[in-house]
Subunit: 352 residues, 2 copies
């Protein structure tokens, strides 16, 4: 029997509540298709930080290396500044494991009310491909004259050709594999002087190798407006770390799926484990109440299995999720229902 | 009779078509309220660049200094890279005249179809206050190993305490003047290591001086989703140059007003002329056809007169605009009508 070894990091807040439901769904699909899992849980979180001064042990990355994939709930909690919790756990994992692709699907489902007027399921179905390890998320920089009225803060963004070309290649390959063969690149070359005109030139260069793909470029300002105005237009949207981050929250915001959107942090070469997580955060306001929506985690689990080559498990989870959304009998409060996290998780299990 | 001296820069593409309609509307309101204008036109544009190698003459800024305000159409045209046309005209004017506030209203009008489901006029009515001269729009940086596969691009963002505090003060003052007294700050302190945690700390510091104002902060990713999910929530939204740019396109994107949104580049101290322009660009695809929508330019003109102390002219232009939108008899193609630029301009004139 095939066996997959998964490192599980529930993290903080509702992370701890949704991960068990993700595991429940994966186990159910595993039973169906003869796949066994070995789950190894790591309690790394803001609590760990309070106890030890670190989000994860010094050899944390080393410990994770032996797994096939990492399944993460959510990281961050009041009392620990975000840039500490994130730069102490999530971001180093993305970086050290060269998970340079952040892949986020945007889909309008039957049963999920769409905030945009006049759209129906099928109208919106695209991917945001986000560069996940360099660019604007950079710790290079600092503060001069700190604490005085003359403070000057310098924040650097660093783009490399290697880093840019490999994310573009991934995005072009993905576009090539889809019927529409359409790629949109997010830029801001009219305002951001060095990095963005250069980004555009890399897109143009890469486009030459994919003559079948219809490529367009939008400045990030109008691109966000276009997500609202004409979401049907998009197929694969590629952006830098920051632009991709924005677009991959806005996209699900436009389909009413922000609470259930997944995020796949992928190392395409499979040199290192990839990491799968829901897009939502630790949601301190509802943590501990058992009412968090586990579908983002389940969807992330589906993407994890697809990455590991188990398309059957992916498809089975997605179908179960679609059924549960359509039936609307066991939805959590954020979707207008009154089910608990566990009830919704069990509904997905039943549907599998 | 009061006389205002306006520098007019129609610029490129549809800029040349919409500016005359702005002037028409301003003239009509001027006649009504006894205000005379002196219009001085500057033909600075991408054409100028082709002829002279510069977007504006070397003493361009000097020439503009003597005016009460600057009225701009749109800058940029295929054939001249954006970062050249913008950094050669629009951006230096913003910077040299310390127009550090970019103020952009987001409103849902009667007669304008809203892309969001279930919203009605009055539901959405807020301002985006954007830092307009520093931050992410920076020419500091460059390319190492240029042209080789080892290329590294460094793009710096520079924030100063002076620059940040003054935009925050403007935003807090604006929030203080409004019934809801609510300010939202855009951040990304969980990903962008130096500038954004520092930005947050400046917001907290400023908030202490405005105890009546209800302040919240959102990371830019979820903030864009929230513009779609709950636009009613917002009153005054303040953001850095880049975040403000994004939000002030997305906001009008959510109200169906992207084609008619105005942009006020304000030097609040009135040490220098301020500049008023529509948000839309030069729109090469429809330029020369006489079908561009002039309402953004007219709305920008209204903001210009308000800045110069003529609230009566501002109000009269806004009422005329609202009437024309509600009547929907003379709208341009982008709003589902079949009027020309001039016909829509004349309809506003008649309504005044
Ligand atoms: C043209 C461009 C440089 C400009 C900006 O980003 O400032 C425009 O998008 C705007 O918002 O006025
Ligand atoms: C928590 C934060 C650092 C993270 C990011 O911006 O990458 C999150 O928003 C995400 O998108 O996964």
């Amino acid at each position: 029997m095939a066996k997959v070894k998964i490192a599980v990091i529930p993290g903080d807040g509702i992370g701890k509540e949704v991960i068990p439901e993700g595991i429940r769904a994966l186990e159910a699909a595993g039973r169906k298709f003869g796949v066994e899992y070995e789950w190894t849980e790591f309690d790394w979180s803001c609590e760990t930080y309070h106890k030890t001064g670190r989000m994860m042990p010094e050899d944390g990355i080393e410990q994770l290396k032996q797994f096939d994939a990492i399944y993460l709930g959510a990281v961050g909690y009041p009392g620990v500044p975000d840039h500490i919790s994130l730069w102490g756990l999530l971001l180093p994992i993305r970086r050290e494991f060269e998970q340079y692709v952040n892949l986020r699907p945007v889909r309008l489902f039957e049963g999920v009310p769409c905030p945009l007027a006049g759209k129906k399921p099928g109208d919106i179905d695209f991917y945001v491909v986000r560069e996940n390890v360099e660019g604007e998320y950079s710790s290079v920089g600092g503060i001069q004259y700190e604490g005085t009225e003359h403070e000057v803060v310098s924040q650097q963004a660093i783009f490399t050709r290697r880093g840019t070309d490999r994310i573009l290649r991934y995005a072009f390959d993905l576009a090539q594999s889809r019927p529409k063969k359409h790629l949109s690149s997010a830029t801001k070359s009219n305002g951001i002087y060095h990095s963005m005109p250069w980004w555009d030139s890399r897109v143009e260069e890469m486009a030459k190798q994919y003559p079948e793909i219809n490529v367009d470029q939008y400045h990030i300002d109008i691109l966000t407006a276009n997500f609202v105005r004409m979401p049907e237009h998009f197929d694969v949207v590629v952006g830098s770390n920051l632009f991709g981050d924005i677009l991959s929250d806005l996209g699900p915001g436009c389909t009413g799926t922000i609470a259930i959107a997944p995020s796949a942090n992928i190392n395409p070469e499979k040199n290192f484990p990839s990491m799968f997580e829901p897009v939502h955060g630790s949601a301190p306001d509802i943590a501990g109440k058992g009412i968090a929506n586990p579908l983002g985690t389940i969807w992330a689990g589906a993407m994890m299995m697809q990455h590991l080559g188990y398309d059957n498990i992916h498809d089975s989870l997605m179908e179960a999720m679609e059924t549960v959304l359509r039936d609307a009998k066991a939805l959590t409060g954020d979707m207008g229902g009154s089910a608990t996290t566990i009830e919704l998780g069990k509904a997905v299990e039943d549907a599998i």
